[in-house]
Symmetry: C4
Subunit: 257 residues, 4 copies
């Protein structure tokens, strides 16, 4: 596998879907929130993404080989189509982030997607019962839909960058003629694996703005069920990243010749 590749399991025809993306990150807020949407809407998996820029190992899970991947789901809610993308991993490689984001946008563009929303966390250092939600938009037109939502849109002074595919996806979406933004739930930044409170804050915003039918009562139980697998992935990857960091690089090969 030389390039990131998407294996389409089922060809689906959607009408201008909006895509929600939850990749691993601080507090796994995106992953939790979008996986909950998948679960609540009974969304159906239609594609998987594999990348040579993911870690070069397989995970042993429930006595089976689990190959690292991202997964695409779709659902129709009150006549409106949605795509959900969740992932075990992000790449460890700067160039890989661009490749993975580009492949995802190619697929979404081809499916008529009009809007790309990445969900993540923003660590403020505060522990909050009612975490704020921040939106970083790629165009002014999007501001209207947040009116009355309580979402913070004056973010320049607080947020300097959004790193990885979560930033690049809405950033590059513009090149593909798609709207895009990041929806970031406030999180403490303390070393917790999952932050269901922040995920819940973001999900409430999504409930207000979009026609997706779900309630939040089962979120806590669902996060508990997800926690073990997420923690396992998290630990293995932290360890792999440490090893990657201990080795120092490319080459010092002295040559005869």
């Amino acid at each position: 596998m030389i390039e990131t590749q998407i294996k389409v399991l089922e060809k689906v025809k959607l009408k201008n879907p909006t895509c929600f993306i939850g990749l691993p990150g601080i507090g796994h807020i995106g992953r939790i929130a979008v996986e909950y949407l998948v679960h609540e809407t009974k969304a159906k998996k239609f594609a998987e993404l594999y990348s040579p820029y993911f870690f070069p190992f397989i995970i042993v899970h429930e006595n089976r080989i689990h190959t690292l991947r991202n997964e695409f789901y779709w659902t129709r809610q009150k006549g409106k189509d949605y795509i959900f993308l969740i992932g075990d991993v992000q790449t460890y490689d700067p160039k890989g982030h661009y490749e993975v984001a580009g492949k995802i946008l190619d697929l979404l563009k081809g499916m008529g997607c009009k809007k790309v929303i990445t969900i993540g966390g923003f660590s403020t250092g505060n522990v909050s019962e009612k975490p704020k939600v921040f939106a970083v938009l790629n165009s002014k037109e999007q501001e209207a839909e947040f009116k009355g939502s309580g979402v913070e849109m004056k973010v320049s002074g607080q947020i300097a960058t959004v790193v990885g595919a979560s930033g690049l996806l809405p950033g590059l979406a513009d090149l593909y003629g798609m709207a895009g933004y990041c929806l970031l739930g406030e999180t403490s930044g303390f070393p917790i694996i999952t932050d269901p409170t922040a995920a819940s804050a973001v999900l409430r915003v999504i409930q207000k703005i979009y026609k997706i039918n779900f309630d939040l009562v089962k979120l806590k139980a669902k996060v508990e069920a997800m926690h073990d697998f997420i923690k396992k992935l998290h630990d293995i990857q932290s360890q792999a990243m440490d090893q990657l960091q201990k080795t120092k690089g490319k080459e010092d090969l002295k040559y005869i010749g």
Copy 2:
């Protein structure tokens, strides 16, 4: 050479072959076991794999240039076809593992291969006269063939990941519609170069399950004969890896301009 390439020496037509793969790793268990199969079945070399992700040097062996490579062999045993893949090296590069695994699977798929088995070691810290053998499967259907073989299939609590091509090959095989698993011989993990006892345990499992005609009496002598070349490769690559690790990276180039 920009991509990993496979040089086909002879076009062979096989019928749904099963492929056994023995690449370098702990105790060189896979390499020893599969090379022994090659030797015992008088399998014939039909292809060689070279990769820009292997170390950029040649080995001097018996006064000749030996270019680092993996080698494909085939044999027919009691009407059943087998492919054996053995290798001098694995790549030192995370992305390279995916590329090499992908090229191997492309070839196998094209030859009608139905099952990909990588053989390796799993270090438990125990020195054992009768080492266990573990199987990590990529589908439930495979469980049946291990019945009565004594192979450990409840592996989740013990094995967390399988790293490198040995993990990715059965992991990605699924994408190509092939079954696959890792067969891992228990080894102490002490710094030994070759572990014939573990290799022998794995070979006994293969004898039970597959229609391959071989005995194990010559294994010890064969491993002794292989030891020198394997040790030489091992030492040179450890040294190269050390040099690679001493250098620390990509770039800090300050630029005028």
Copy 3:
């Protein structure tokens, strides 16, 4: 996005344009000088360059997502066509410099460009009221146009290398049949973000040699206005580069198998 890509916003037909390039570097002299030319000549943006070799994040600027990029502008001045290229970033990757430079030269060649001029700084350690300007040419024919300009052309003893795209662009321009040179303003090398005095010295040389209509009175005010955004980009990237340097490399993954 697997390769550096240029998004052409408007197809323009130019007549043998000369291209001035101002990418980030010491004192941001190139960036300042060329952005001032864009501003003064009311040049029009016609293309944007994005690269997987840029840092994998987006900047939050004025509450919007700002994706890292280089930008192409054009203008016609007294019947002569000019292209201006300015950039937020250079790549952090050695190979990336070649890829970005190649993509730029492909575009310029296709537009009939005959000359590629990169503007930068050369740190001499001196603080000077009247900084020198140095020219490093890719052919002898270019010497004539500098006669009487006061530009230093005996540079071998002082300048050993020009690093990054600013060097490679005129260096590789030769392969494309284009003339090219670096125009470097003397700067102290002290850790300042922007050096308008050096930029001004280079702009005066451009005024003497080319038919571009602009004066320098507004330069100071313009640099002040640009300073904040340039400093923000500069700080974020320095920080990212530090993180990149703290991590040490590629892989030390021990593998089972």
Copy 4:
């Protein structure tokens, strides 16, 4: 420039040429020897090789931009055709060595080349008035031509690897159906930039075996003339390699999202 590319300056038709290759290395023995052959046979340059895997800077030499490259020359001597390849640089990147070697072999194969000889140094720690010459061959057939030449062919015990393009070129030549070997002059390994005594020993072997008309009287003067430029390249690249080594790697980017 995404891949290594060869710019052909003049299309030449040669008859089964033999190619001598002198790239930078210990004592710059290959570079000196092959550049001397170019000079003595008045060989004509017909192609240049550029690579994104070379350092991303240009050298300022004699007040001009000098882009890092390798150069191909050809000559006809007593009815026999020869190609000479000399280089300013080798790549700093493991994968780059394979790419550069592959591109060179593609060109040579296309020109009907039958034999690829890389010239280099082998550091033994001895200072010798009459340095030995070692040959590492890629096939047994080549042994005959060394009879009576005094060249050491029992090298296994002394030479373990040949690193970089100098090893890979004859190593991979085999894949292209070409013979190949390394000819290595014994050198002390002390930090000297150029070792004309070792180069001279190798050239004497070439004189014995091939129909190339040259004497060695001007070698010393020629090496002196080359020394300054080679030292400049050497120093700049050592410095760049140090910087490359100081930076430690790929990425540690923590991400929001």
